[in-house]
């Protein structure tokens, strides 16, 4: 029962990632693309946590931790690049 619910959750998360990818491909400006990139990184944290659960290894969560702490620096760099603040 629990596993079936988590499979459905994983499918929804993957679908969300693909939807954000659609905005990345379509996005009229660079800022839209960066936003889609940010949404995909945040979403992938949840996906990594689910993979860790299905493999039953707590050590996989460290990878999610890296994404949680570092993904925002990429967005900040690109935003500062756009506003010529680098």
């Amino acid at each position: 029962m629990v596993e079936i619910i988590l499979y459905i959750a994983g499918g929804l998360i993957l679908l969300g990632m693909l939807t954000a990818l659609w905005r990345f491909v379509k996005g009229p400006s660079s800022a839209d693309r960066i936003m889609a990139f940010d949404a995909m990184t945040v979403t992938s944290i949840a996906l990594i946590a689910l993979i860790a659960f299905f493999n039953n290894r707590i050590i996989y969560l460290d990878v999610a931790l890296v994404y949680g702490l570092l993904s925002f620096t990429g967005v900040i760099v690109i935003a500062r690049f756009l506003e010529k603040g680098l």
Binding site: N55, N56, R57, I58, I59
Partner: protein, 123 residues
């Protein structure tokens, strides 16, 4: 159906990335795009090496409560390609940095990014 394993998917994806990256590096004119194609080639190569080390039904080579400490050679995937890829990724960022600064230096001297403008051997 028996060809549809995780290892084969990883291998096919890696090979496709390598071909795409090689095609881009050979046909693009802009230096920065050539460097982007190189990073894609790099990612594909690393993916191929890691996929070769995977064995079905085995776990990551780190000892904790779920693995126990006995009979480890029948539970773990191959650790050596993973160690090699780890070093390869770090060297990859160094090489990318050198290529990018070289491109920047060339742009500062010639104000051009086209690879065809840099045919002379002495400049």
């Amino acid at each position: 159906m028996e060809y549809l394993t995780l290892q084969n998917i990883g291998l096919v994806t890696g090979f496709m990335l390598m071909l795409i990256g090689l095609y881009g590096a050979l046909t693009q004119k802009n230096i920065l795009r050539i460097i982007v194609a190189f990073t894609i080639f790099d990612a594909g190569l690393n993916l191929v090496i890691v996929a070769l080390s995977y064995i079905k039904g085995r776990v990551a080579p780190i000892i904790d409560q779920t693995t126990g400490v006995t009979n480890l050679s029948e539970k773990f995937v191959d650790p050596i390609p993973q160690a090699l890829v780890l070093t390869s990724i770090v060297i990859g960022v160094g090489v990318t940095g050198v290529m990018l600064t070289f491109a920047l230096r060339m742009f500062k001297t010639r104000h051009s990014l086209d690879i065809n403008d840099f045919k002379q051997t002495k400049w």
